[in-house]
């Protein structure tokens, strides 16, 4: 069920995307982590396979965005869409791959009854902050705290 086109195609994640996601993650972070992604993709496919998406260009997966709708996280009782992880093939940046995936996942969250969408971004990752800002995200009053143990 693939198509050959120069257009970016957004479709739901499936289990055959594991290899492509491992590849993109390796391109971005430099580590080969198939075990991590096998487990993680299995998790998203169990919970809501239609919400997480991948982007295809010329029949090749060039991006992924994983997330789901949850309620009750951090005292946020209303159904909330969480964008948890994303990646775009470095060779395909500047082609609105991330934006197209973001728009698709936001639409799915809305259809699943989410009232808002949240994510966490490291302050040092200004490019990522800019990406979410361009999708209409604003800084939240909910702050992330961390301490070593």
């Amino acid at each position: 069920m693939t198509a050959t086109t120069t257009e970016v195609i957004i479709r739901p994640l499936d289990e055959l995307d594991i290899s492509a996601i491992v590849r993109i993650d390796e391109q971005i972070g430099g580590s080969y982590r198939p075990d991590v992604w096998e487990r993680r993709i299995g998790y998203y496919l169990r919970r809501d396979p239609e919400t997480s998406v991948v982007a295809e260009l010329d029949g090749r997966v060039v991006g992924f965005m994983l997330g789901e709708v949850r309620s009750g996280e951090f005292g946020l009782e209303e159904p909330t869409g969480w964008v948890e992880v994303l990646g775009v093939d470095p060779d395909c940046r500047g082609r609105a791959v991330g934006r197209r995936m973001g728009e698709a996942i936001l639409q799915h969250f809305k259809e699943r009854g989410a009232r808002s969408v949240r994510t966490l971004v490291d302050e040092e990752q200004t490019e990522l902050s800019g990406f979410f800002s361009s999708l209409g995200f604003e800084p939240s009053s909910v702050r992330a705290f961390v301490r070593p143990v």
Binding site: P12, L16, P34, G42, R46, R47, D48
Partner: protein, 438 residues
């Protein structure tokens, strides 16, 4: 978009529960361990789901654009007949797969993978329940003289050997079958469900989205363990070798291809708006998708053997190995391969042709038999299913039976006496004189 749930009338619901107690006795174990393996995930519930807000116009075929049907009695008789057959076949596969999985579920080496399969079995039970819901909720008297009770009993009476499709009449021999079946046979299920999502019969279309959501995990429950096994095999593990996996793939791919129906058919379903693709088109897409899976598994194996390779290097190395070169000590025969689509077929256009796994054509029956011995799992070759294939093949080669006649006999069905846990009656699904009542 919303989903509403419903349950069958009490006697039918209880009949399914009794069936579950017989064929899925670990159901309670799954429920007890749900939080451990699937924390914070919605608990399993035995019910039928219908998605609302779906397209209400027929999406393909001669009646495209007209309103979808909500009642079978409003459909053209032949259209309703085809639909009825599809629902029964779908129900048969759902219940049938549980009967297969239960044989070897306990042989899983990893508890996590065992519970993935167990969850998948429970969801297949729900899928069967969903199909019974379609049969019970509507009036099918225009195409069947059987009452709802008889229809339900007929389906719940089926057992491995009496199901409507060949893939569900083959016993599992090890946990490799549980996993490979999920990766290959459930993938056919995904195609069928996706096609039926556009069905001109609205209750069928509305039943598909939730089944498809659950099916996505069933495929992962096959693919992820396969990926883990090839990694272990690459590192010298001997529990599941590449040869074991290849033989299991050879066992199941032919049955999977046959599940799409005869390569020349499917036009009626398209014409009536029940499916958007003919058999051959869907089968071809499926075959290409599995080829992608096999390539992914080979890449996983190769990188586990030669960790210094980057992704790009491993892609290039894989191509060279497949062309016969030895790279990083990996030979072509160390890898997995797609069996030729005509290999070991007993239905459809290539039925009973003596075509080998790599597409080589055999003219000598004894040589072809030896090829099958080398290509299929040892335990499967000791099965009744394989014996019957061999007998039919021999007759075809000797000219005492036409290939089409032989195809019509496969699988040779067992008769089932009183297997339905919801009934004390004895139902003879297909009589088979060669088998004694005992």
């Amino acid at each position: 978009m919303s989903v509403r749930s419903t349950t069958l009338p009490k006697p039918f619901h209880q009949a399914v529960v009794r069936w579950q107690e017989t064929f899925l006795p670990d159901y309670d174990l799954l429920q007890e361990n749900w939080e451990k393996f699937f924390p914070t995930e919605r608990k399993f519930e035995l019910c039928a789901y219908r998605q609302t807000g779906m397209c209400t116009e027929i999406e393909c075929g001669e009646m495209k654009g007209k309103p979808k049907f909500n009642r079978a009695s409003d459909m053209q008789p032949e259209q309703a007949h085809h639909l009825f057959g599809a629902i029964r076949a779908q129900a048969s596969t759902e219940f049938g797969s549980i009967q297969q999985h239960r044989l070897t579920l306990a042989r899983a080496q990893e508890e996590e993978e065992q519970f993935w399969i167990l969850r998948m079995m429970a969801e297949e039970l729900r899928h069967g329940y969903q199909m019974l819901h379609l049969l019970v909720e509507d009036d099918w008297s225009s195409v069947s003289k059987e009452s709802s009770a008889d229809l339900v009993e007929g389906i719940l009476s089926m057992n491995t050997g009496s199901h409507l499709l060949g893939a569900f009449n083959v016993d599992f021999d090890s946990f490799i079958d549980n996993v490979v079946f999920c990766g290959l046979i459930d993938r056919v299920g995904k195609y069928q469900l996706a096609m039926q999502k556009v069905s001109a019969y609205q209750p069928m279309a509305e039943s598909m989205p939730e089944m498809l959501r659950e099916e996505a995990f069933h495929l992962a429950a096959g693919v992820v363990p396969m990926r883990r096994w090839v990694t272990a095999a690459a590192k010298g593990g001997t529990f599941v070798t590449m040869v074991d996996l290849q033989k299991a793939i050879n066992k199941w791919i032919p049955r999977a291809l046959e599940m799409f129906g005869d390569e020349r058919g499917g036009g009626t379903n398209v014409r009536y708006g029940l499916k958007p693709m003919k058999n051959a088109e869907a089968q071809k897409q499926y075959y290409e998708e599995v080829a992608k899976l096999v390539r992914d598994l080979n890449l996983r194996y190769l990188r586990a053997r030669a960790e210094k390779l980057s992704h790009g290097e491993s892609e290039a190395a894989l191509d060279r190995i497949l062309q016969g070169e030895v790279v990083e000590g990996v030979r072509r025969e160390d890898l997995l391969h797609m069996p030729h689509p005509e290999f070991f077929r007993r239905r459809g256009v290539p039925a009973f042709r003596m075509v080998g796994a790599e597409g080589e054509v055999f003219t000598d029956l004894a040589a072809f038999r030896q090829h099958l011995v080398r290509s299929l799992p040892d335990s499967y070759r000791a099965s009744r299913d394989f014996r019957e294939y061999q007998e039919a093949l021999t007759q075809v080669v000797e000219g005492t039976l036409q290939a089409e006649e032989a195809a019509g006999k496969m699988p040779s069905l067992r008769r089932v006496g009183g297997a339905c846990p919801c009934s004390k009656s004895v139902r003879w699904v297909v009589d088979e004189p060669a088998v004694s009542a005992a």
